[in-house]
């Protein structure tokens, strides 16, 4: 995070039971369409992927979308990945369409925070927003 640089922020809240229901209804297809292999591995529990941890990651993905503001661009959910580091902290990794959107919008320095209790999970994402020269030119022209 850079001081003196504009930011964008996104937040999302999700009911854990919604994730549990999706997991129950669609299983592996749900996991494959939304999460990366690493995320599924990070969320592994004794009885399979933990809906609570998956919900926190989905909230982070949606909070990131609010920062990216993709409009009607296609952004597959796995292109936003929450990575859990050995110390327990988490960070975001953008790939593919999400990475391209961030670069085009002049977004960098993404930071994420997750929280959850028994029923809900939430995430906040913040990024530095330094519009590119082209975007500044567009703003000036408009």
């Amino acid at each position: 995070m850079l001081l003196g640089v504009p930011h964008r922020v996104g937040i999302d809240l999700i009911a854990v039971e919604d994730v549990a229901a999706a997991l129950s209804a669609h299983g592996e297809r749900y996991l494959a369409r939304v999460y990366t292999d690493r995320e599924v591995q990070d969320c592994a529990g004794p009885a399979g992927p933990d809906p609570l941890r998956l919900a926190a990651r989905f909230a982070a993905k949606e909070a990131t979308m609010k920062v990216l503001r993709p409009g009607d661009a296609a952004v597959p959910w796995p292109s936003v990945e929450v990575r859990r580091n050995p110390g327990g902290d988490v960070e975001l990794a953008l790939t593919g369409a999400a990475k391209a959107l961030a670069e085009d919008a002049g977004l960098s320095g993404f930071a994420v925070s997750l929280t959850h209790d028994g029923a809900y999970a939430a995430a906040v994402v913040v990024a530095d927003h330094a519009p590119t020269a082209l975007q500044n030119q567009r703003c000036h022209v408009d």
Binding site: D18, A22, R29, Y30, R33, M65, D72, A74, V75, W77
Partner: protein, 82 residues
């Protein structure tokens, strides 16, 4: 086609209002469909219509209304919307 789409939305959309109160052109997000529910709707549609939405179609607009979903399914090779 639209009746089956409505069934999928009823089963997976978690809308706070009855589907019967929504027109085919009404915006489902404005009606209260959350982004996570739209994932369930997508998977439900794939089951119901035996199709797979490619990455390029995973946009907010594709799942924004019954009409938009019907148009997307038509693009995937299913019959024209009723």
């Amino acid at each position: 086609m639209n009746d089956l789409i409505r069934t999928v939305l009823r089963d997976h959309g978690r809308l706070p209002v009855p589907m019967e109160t929504l027109a085919d052109s009404d915006d489902l997000y404005r009606a209260g469909m959350a982004s996570h529910a739209s994932v369930n709707v997508m998977l439900g549609l794939e089951d119901a219509f035996d199709v797979e939405f490619p990455d390029r179609m995973l946009t907010r607009g594709v799942f924004a209304s019954v009409d938009a979903i019907a148009a997307a399914l038509t693009e995937l090779g299913l019959g024209a919307p009723a």
